[in-house]
Symmetry: C2
Subunit: 465 residues, 2 copies
């Protein structure tokens, strides 16, 4: 963009939307993914209305300028990183909850509403917004929609997309479309709602989201179990769910992860265990029975200790252990690459055993925690990034983990998205026909390839302004 371009865009938008100070741009160049390039943006547009977004895209479409939509930049795949010469289109200031409809159990929100803020607000009405990505205290609904974010509740309630009923989306050329519906059901035309969910800013910019809510669940009961081997822990997961129980949380942490967490908060977890499971039931009167059944399956799988929290507060403390995992990685004093493979639950044992082999083969540390109930693990490759050779090996290990996930009938990304980080891998997961259908849809909806170009798809030429 030339100086004249910036002026032209500024003239089209209301006061206080277009920023090009170096410091502001620098502060908005990156999301939280490691090892993804971030270019130098031309401007930042802080949209405050659908019209702002429409005006910006219409101009960018006409002038062939790439646009990178951004929320809270808490993503883990580089999809919100700047591209050279791009417009960073921030939706953060579109942060109003427009409606909470108690009767229909839906909420209508702008994309910049923070997940945790929405969850707290609907709780005041006796309602429940389940999707709870680890980032929920900072990440926005718009970002959650862009990545189809998961979280801990998914094992019972499903992911973000399962709660999205309808969207307002600004198309690449600036036209505004509504998708989906506000009603419980509806099949009029193609489901563009779920096409846009998870499209990581490449098909349109979401300016309004209608989400389904549920009645508030009971306060959860919590239990933890400790195992002598990781295999025992993950076998418990498949065994317990196979019996038909539906816990609201079923998380795994291996010992190195627990050790790192305990450097931040000493939870008094025992030594001499290889991994632990954390389980919650929010079924009210049925919860104690659901946890007793968990204890039984865990003990049958060699659990050395099972602790059921006496009250919700103690349970919340145990949950903190899982929530601190991200911060705990910083205690390692190493650089980390966070993976996100998801495999059929019965293959979890093979996955965790394979992680051990990969750590050995590439001589890097591989920690593991994750949403075991979904088969969605976040293996973490930890390495010394000052050591060039180790860095290379770390990236090889990261790739080997995705290959292992695919070999086990899984996916390269359960909930973080492809973004930049995994685009080389998309072609390994999708067949040629599916990949070409996806490209055809991208070309149909964004013919000049201005929306987050170069993200998601492998080998696609990056847009250079």
């Amino acid at each position: 963009m030339t100086t004249a371009d910036v002026r032209a865009l500024r003239d089209l938008l209301p006061e206080g939307r277009v920023f090009d100070d170096v410091d502001v741009l620098e502060a908005h160049r990156r999301d939280r993914a490691g090892f993804c390039p971030a270019g130098t943006p031309a401007v930042l547009v802080r949209a405050r209305s659908t019209e702002d977004v429409s005006t910006t895209l219409e101009w960018a479409h006409r002038n062939r300028v790439p646009v990178v939509p951004q929320g809270a930049r808490s993503g883990l795949s580089g999809a919100a990183n700047a591209l050279d010469g791009c417009i960073l289109l921030s939706l953060e200031k579109m942060d109003r909850i427009l409606d909470i409809d108690v009767s229909e159990q839906v909420a209508v929100v702008q994309p910049g509403v923070v997940n945790g803020v929405l969850a707290a607000k609907v709780a005041e009405h006796g309602l429940f917004y389940p999707p709870d990505p680890g980032s929920r205290s900072i990440s926005t609904i718009g970002g959650n929609v862009a990545t189809n974010a998961g979280g801990m509740c998914c094992v019972k309630y499903g992911v973000t997309g399962d709660f999205v009923r309808g969207l307002e989306v600004v198309l690449a050329d600036g036209r505004v479309m509504r998708t989906g519906r506000r009603t419980a059901k509806g099949v009029a035309g193609y489901d563009l709602t779920h096409l846009v969910v998870g499209s990581e800013g490449t098909l349109g910019v979401v300016t309004e989201v209608t989400v389904a809510l549920r009645p508030a669940a009971a306060q959860p009961l919590t239990a933890v179990a400790f195992f002598p081997t990781i295999a025992d822990a993950v076998r418990t997961v498949a065994g317990y769910l196979g019996e038909g129980y539906r816990p609201s949380v079923l998380e795994f942490m291996d010992r190195p992860t627990v050790n790192a967490v305990q450097k931040i908060a000493d939870l008094g977890f025992p030594d001499g265990m290889a991994g632990m499971l954390l389980v919650q039931s929010d079924r009210g009167d049925a919860a104690p029975g659901e946890l007793a059944a968990f204890e039984e399956v865990a003990r049958a799988n060699q659990a050395s200790e099972v602790v059921v929290a006496d009250d919700p507060a103690e349970g919340e403390l145990l949950m903190q252990a899982r929530r601190l995992v991200g911060d705990a990685h910083e205690q390692l004093g190493l650089t980390v690459l966070v993976d996100d493979v998801c495999v059929p639950r019965r293959n979890l044992v093979n996955l965790v055993e394979g992680l051990g082999r990969i750590a050995e083969q590439y001589r890097v540390q591989v920690l593991c925690a994750g949403h075991a109930g979904d088969g969605n693990m976040h293996p973490v490759v930890a390495f010394d990034s000052d050591d060039a050779k180790e860095t290379v090996r770390a990236h090889q290990a990261f790739d080997a983990i995705m290959e292992l996930g695919l070999d086990l009938g899984g996916t390269i990304t359960g909930e973080h998205g492809v973004g930049h980080l995994k685009r080389r891998w998309l072609g390994e997961e999708l067949d040629e026909a599916a990949l070409s259908a996806q490209r055809a849809i991208k070309a149909a909806l964004d013919p000049h390839n201005i929306l987050n170009p170069g993200r998601v798809f492998p080998d696609q030429e990056e847009f250079t302004a």
Copy 2:
């Protein structure tokens, strides 16, 4: 298609796939929608494998011959009716259950598997496939996927699409793609699974479906309540759900519908009521409480009588009343047009009151039953089709019902699909940008417009061979 064309296609496919006898073609010309034109097909291809489908589409794509995919032809929107000169592509013989994975709680099936057959088979493994369209004893999973079929369980469990994890789809040009995944979560690339679900055979032909299952639910308890006015009944729906209960069934029937049902099976329902609700809870120990709460809300809304079934068998008998609605319409001795509007629950009162006005204005009978818990009603316009003027008024009433649904913030179709029947109306529900995005996707995936051309979209030129 010329005789030479038919021979060419027959030569490409294995023995016993291509049929052109007049009787066979005639028997496959129509689905169950009234008032939708059915053309004269050129041939029927009975696919027995993905390869058969691929070969047929590749040939049709090359030769620009329209293809109409068919399952059990139980659809209600005309989407499976023949087009002149088309290939009817029947998936009925691809009816194998390929896998039931108890650990991962998924099943993999061919499209011709009948819904009720799948449900019964997974029940043998202690699992549950909830989507239960009224046609479940005859309709196929492929057809359910094509229309994103609903049913009675939706109020608690959601529709077909909520249970589809992945598909094998043959694209218009014969290439085979896999979409989605087998794992609980996955966000690699665009969600083509849900783009194809509900696309009524216009984007590809589904040859394999991976569905999510749930642990078996408890045997449901059933209750019915009778109300002096329809408004009292539907107010009960919003009130009950608004208190946070999650019944597994919550159905409404008005008095004329009940009367018609009782001509088939005398259920001893009282006279002097305007409508009834039928509710089930499958929450096991919690079910009696859930039904007691229903009774309380119903009585607060003037219910004259509430009956809780003593045992599952009695409950099943009550459910028969709802299942007989389709057959009961035949007892009227009139022609019927079945509508499928879905509105926000709080507007159900306005919907049923509006139906009364429409019946009066157009001097036709309008009966009403439906999935009240979802706000998804099936108003039925009953009329004498030998009376040309009444027939015109009936169609006007049918249209007026959709207009009313839209005015109340609803959709023209909750679960039956657009097909031929409602394509004129799609443009009333969708905005210009959404409609053009849908057309762009159709053109991108089916450039020669051979897949069920003229269905779903309004004003699209019908393919003529």
